[in-house]
């Protein structure tokens, strides 16, 4: 029956959507209970909620909805609409609910989280940033209180005590990256009592599409301090004299750069090498390559900012300095050298985790967002999540005007400014969505020249942004912002703004996915407010030049096509990354299970006693069983961790060139997996033998083992960061796709 329904949906071109009819019945029934529930006093209300038998079935859900509505009324003075209860039910069933801005997602999410908590499950509500996590937890605290459910939140600056306490709460709000970092840090502990993150149960994800799709492949990295990584200043100096087209060339899409003959010759002279590509110069070549990348491809104020003597990456999609992000593999150091800044600390990667794998740890996942339908296929493919499209409480009357098309960027700019001037004269609030921070600044400058005052959101802090964006609906306000800035905050119309036509959203260019366009449009027209949106597109926009470089005139089809190409590429990259990550994920889970056993059981002494029985016996009689066991455990944990990080490095290296296998008509993914499995099998053996070796040579005192002397050093400092999408890796995936198509084309003819 289910499959039949799925078929019909596929036929209607709406795969992966949920039928709301059963939810509607429950909400209707809950509405009938409203008066009865309202008669209960606070104590009785809480008692009724906690008395609900678990797990919730239809009858309990009806009662829960009715009670939750009453609780929200009393706690916040807000009566949840029927559609909000629909969203609650969709979340409780483990779906992604799609409802527009201003439809009260936060409250719906809180009720759903409480619903899970009342059924005895721990809920992690994942937000996109610290500000939203803290705000939502505080804002919704009264609701949770009525249910007797404990709530907490953490952020970047939380101490480990704070974290431990927060994770103990029934419901915890946290930025998704913080949870990931905690999981990563936990895998370094040497004492079971140090583990912070409890077993994952329910993840409720806010802005689910951006977390699950846009950021899914961003790796969170745990690094340990290593020998300082210095980009040789001489390379950066030489690089400054290099000119495009003479010493190096940049490809059309500004995705990669390489030295010309002349550039290579100059570099060789400076470094005193005869052949940069000869054996044994890999290190030097790598340094040159990263320096070239930093010099030729990364633009100050577009890709990064220099502030307080530090390089800050600009998150392209949010237009915000991503405090926690770093470039991988020496690129960070190369950029610092380019800007003549002191090198920041760096380290070896101990482990990493993608957000997709983090989410995959939770047996129950649900989420909410304003735009999920467009990625329903991906949510289904990668997370087995269905989308529930929640209707708006009041019909959206926003007017989405057709795109305005221009031949040149200049014409487009002028038209945008003219449009803003005109709309502003009527007192209409205007929100301008730009593609990046640099564009925001440029536009703001132009507007100021026209004598218009405007607020610019650029990489400032989240709380300030929220305050600014909240006022963007006031009469006469002009706000310039990148697409993601201030997400999660409603724009309410000020006095007189509705009469002027409501919020006018202007996009200065289409985004690489129609879903992102819709997010911007969705800023206007909340709760039946009037509003309008329009996008300005020119033939010189990056979207068009990058994806439809051959087009000579612009049409609606060209724009849509460019966007579809971009979406297709992103999907392919996502799928590629996921394909490669799946196996690594599986291997990691094996290693972690093993590590956990080493940590909690007496497995380590057993293994070492098995490897070198004499030495173990000798040590045990010398220092006693307790010290010997502890030493065995520490040594084995160390070697396991080291082998794993070595394995990860090997896989990273393997990954880099695996696409070349296509040339021999092999499937790169299969080849990768085969090599990865072979390498993985070595870990166990290596851990055993190295541990036994270390144990035999270790110096023991009454206090325990002197690990320092054995060359075992726990990383003195660890830190965590997000890797900015690997600039080389994604390229490899793209060639892979292209080569694959060529060869497969040949293969098919062959068949």
């Amino acid at each position: 029956m289910n499959r039949l329904r799925e078929r019909v949906r596929r036929l209607l071109q709406r795969p992966g959507t949920v039928d709301l009819a059963p939810f509607r019945r429950i909400v209707r029934a809950a509405g009938e209970r409203e008066a009865a529930v309202a008669a209960l006093d606070d104590e009785a209300l809480r008692a009724a909620v906690t008395a609900l038998p678990t797990p919730f079935r239809d009858a309990e859900l009806i009662e829960f909805c009715a009670l939750a509505r009453e609780a929200a009324v009393r706690a916040l003075g807000e009566r949840p609409y029927d559609v909000q209860l629909l969203a609650v039910l969709a979340l409780l069933s483990g779906h992604v609910s799609e409802s527009g801005t201003g439809e009260g997602k936060t409250l719906a999410g809180a009720i759903a989280a409480a619903g899970f908590a009342l059924q005895g499950r721990r809920v992690h509500v994942m937000s996109v940033n610290d500000y939203l996590a803290r705000r939502d937890a505080t804002w919704m605290a009264p609701v949770y209180e009525r249910f007797g459910v404990s709530v907490a939140s953490i952020g970047q600056s939380s101490t480990s005590e704070d974290r431990r306490a927060a994770y103990a709460a029934k419901v915890m709000y946290a930025p998704v990256s913080e949870i990931g970092f905690d999981v990563l840090r936990d895998r370094l502990v040497t004492d079971p009592a140090e583990v912070i993150v409890p077993e994952p149960q329910v993840a409720l994800i806010d802005e689910a599409d951006s977390v699950l799709v846009d950021e899914a492949r961003v790796p969170l990295v745990l690094a340990g301090a290593a020998q300082g990584e210095h980009a040789a200043p001489v390379i950066a100096q030489t690089m400054r004299t290099f000119l495009p087209g003479v010493h190096f060339e940049v490809d059309d899409e500004r995705r990669s750069a390489h030295l010309t003959e002349r550039g290579t010759a100059t570099m060789e002279r400076v470094l005193g090498l005869t052949n940069l590509y000869g054996e044994g110069h890999v290190e030097a070549l790598a340094a040159v390559n990263t320096a070239l990348h930093a010099h030729a491809l990364l633009r100050r104020d577009v890709d990064y900012l220099v502030r307080d003597g530090k390089v800050g990456l600009i998150d392209g999609s949010r237009g915000r300095v991503a405090k926690l992000q770093r470039w991988p593999d020496g690129l960070q150091a190369a950029v610092e050298a380019k800007e003549s800044l002191p090198a920041s600390e760096s380290g070896e990667v101990l482990d990493s985790l993608t957000i997709q794998s983090l989410v995959g740890r939770y047996p129950t996942v649900c989420g909410m967002t304003g735009t999920a339908l467009a990625v329903a296929g991906q949510l289904r493919e990668f997370y087995r999540l269905d989308v529930a499209v929640i209707p708006p409480n009041r019909e959206c009357v926003r007017v989405d005007e057709p795109d305005r098309l221009f031949a040149t960027a200049q014409e487009k700019q002028d038209a945008i400014v003219a449009q803003i001037v005109e709309s502003h004269r009527k007192g209409r609030p205007i929100l301008i969505g730009t593609l990046d921070v640099a564009e925001s600044e440029r536009l703001a400058m132009k507007l100021r020249l026209e004598g218009l005052a405007c607020k610019v959101l650029n990489a400032a802090n989240d709380a300030e942004e929220a305050a600014v964006i909240a006022r963007a609906g006031e009469c006469g306000a002009i706000t310039v912002s990148t697409q993601m800035a201030g997400r999660g905050t409603d724009i309410r119309l000020g006095k007189g703004a509705a009469e002027a036509g409501g919020l006018y959203v202007i996009g200065t260019g289409r985004y690489p996915a129609s879903r992102l366009d819709d997010q911007l449009r969705g800023r206007a027209g909340r709760q039946g407010d009037p509003g309008a949106s329009v996008f300005f597109v020119s033939l010189e926009d990056h979207l068009i030049t990058a994806h439809v470089p051959e087009s000579t005139s612009i049409s609606t089809w060209t724009v849509g096509h460019a966007q579809r190409v971009a979406e297709g590429l992103n999907l392919e990259i996502h799928r590629g990354t996921w394909g490669y990550n799946k196996l690594i994920e599986y291997q990691r889970s094996l290693v972690l299970t093993h590590r956990d056993r080493l940590l909690r059981e007496d497995l380590a002494p057993e293994i070492i006693a098995g490897e070198s029985p004499e030495d173990f016996k000798r040590v045990r009689t010398e220092v006693g069983e307790k010290v010997a066991n502890r030493a065995a455990r520490l040594i084995m944990l160390h070697h396991l961790d080291e082998c794993w990080s070595g394995h990860l490095a090997y896989l990273g290296d393997l990954r880099e060139g695996i696409h070349l296998r296509v040339l021999g008509r092999q499937n790169p993914l299969d080849e990768f997996n085969a090599a990865a499995v072979t390498a993985f099998k070595r870990i166990e053996n290596d851990t055993r033998t190295r541990s036994a070796e270390t144990f035999t040579l270790a110096k023991f005192t009454e206090n325990g083992v002197d690990l320092e002397a054995s060359g075992i050093r726990r990383p003195t400092a660890t830190w965590t960061y997000l890797v900015k999408e690997n600039p080389f890796g994604t390229e490899a995936e793209r060639i892979l796709a292209r080569l694959g198509r060529t060869i497969r084309g040949g293969g098919r003819e062959r068949a």
Binding site: S256, H258, T264, N275, Y277, G278, E279, V282, E283, N289, G330, S346, G347, E348, H547, V548, R564, V565, E567, G568, L569, L571, E572, L583, L590, T593, H594, S645, Y650, G652, D653, E656, G657, L660, R661, L663, G664, R665, Q666, N667, D670, N673, A674, A675, V677, K681, I683, E684, F728, E731, A732, I735, L739, I743, G745, G746, G747, R748, R750, A751
Partner: protein, 436 residues
Amino acid sequence: MLTAITRAFRTPDLRNKMLFTLGIIALFRLGSFLPTPGVHVSNIQKCLAQGLSSDAAGVYGLINLFSGGALLQLSVFALGIMPYITASIILQLLTVVIPRLEALKKEGQAGTAKITQYTRYLTIGLAVLQSTAFIALARSGQMFPQCQEEVLLSQDIFPLIVMVLTMTAGTSVIMWLGELITDRGIGNGMSILIFTQVVAVFPQELARIFRSNTFGFAVVMVVGVAIIAAVVFVEQAQRRIPVQYAKRMVGRRMYGGTSTYIPLKVNQAGIIPVIFASSLLYLPQLAATLFGNTTNPNEVIRFIQTYFANNIGNAYYMTTYFLLIVFFTYFYVSITFNPVEVADNMKKYGGFIPGIRPGRPTAEYLSYVLTRLTAPGSLYLGLLSLVPIVALTLVDASQNFPFGGTSILIIVGVGLDTVKQIEAQLQQRNYEGFLR
């Protein structure tokens, strides 16, 4: 390989996948025997037997080989997987010609899905054409010119339309079966079905050889197994050119270039040169049949008739065939592997062959290795294709010696790919004894 399969059968989900694939293959074979309504089954069998023992046995044998014996029996699956393959080739060529299709292809998965949909429509169109043509042939008695029996029960238009519809529907079902295998079974559906078609005629052919000449049968078996072993060996042979990606690993030793390499296969071209060469050599045969019945054939036609049509076990034919294959091997390799493109590609992403500069020097090096490697590759393909002809002359076996070059390449190619896929899937699940 056998251990891989037995182990796969012990892994539940892999076992299910394999059983599913086998089930589909069984269905596919069933449909190849199932006669289309309106066919006179016993008459067509008689005509077929007669055809296979006549002068034109070569042509019938070839058709039988590629349709798994279904076409000449006018079964429900008479058209086999060929219309689908033809359609996908046509659409691939069209994407080069038609900008809108090219644009669709660029749009990634969504676009490809649309192209696949077009391929399916075209397949149906081709199926209608082909089935109509074959039924028209059968109706006029030209399918088996020597046979006097009536192969159709009725000459009326309505039963004929039903036959066309049945065969077309059969083709659509085959298409679906192939996609089912790709989706839920093991291996690539299209290849598996071709493999099935090729292997399907083996028992029949071998039985025929056995009946006519027991000693010949023994020789054929020994030679066949030896050839298969040799082909498996050569197909897996590759030259690995090490490639390094200059990327810095902090605080970690660099791993050598052992795992990053370009695998250049000895038989980089695969089966296409053989197919090209034999189709090209089929043209004179065709010309001879078309014009050869004139009472006074001219020199050229007589030459063709003597050396290229009736008896191909002669030096002229064999030399031409061999040279064509060598030529097409080089030709095809030069098309599919462009050293300049590969070198550019590596240069762009920081890869290099140790000791060799990126760009032109790398392209030259690749080209040098490739040329040297293609030499044995092309000789191998040429020799392999001559085997059935030589066998024919030596042992006097039937002309459709089943271990011919084309069929062996298909069998070994698909077989290797599939086993490799099973092994790959097995490997990911099988961590026996690890860290427990």
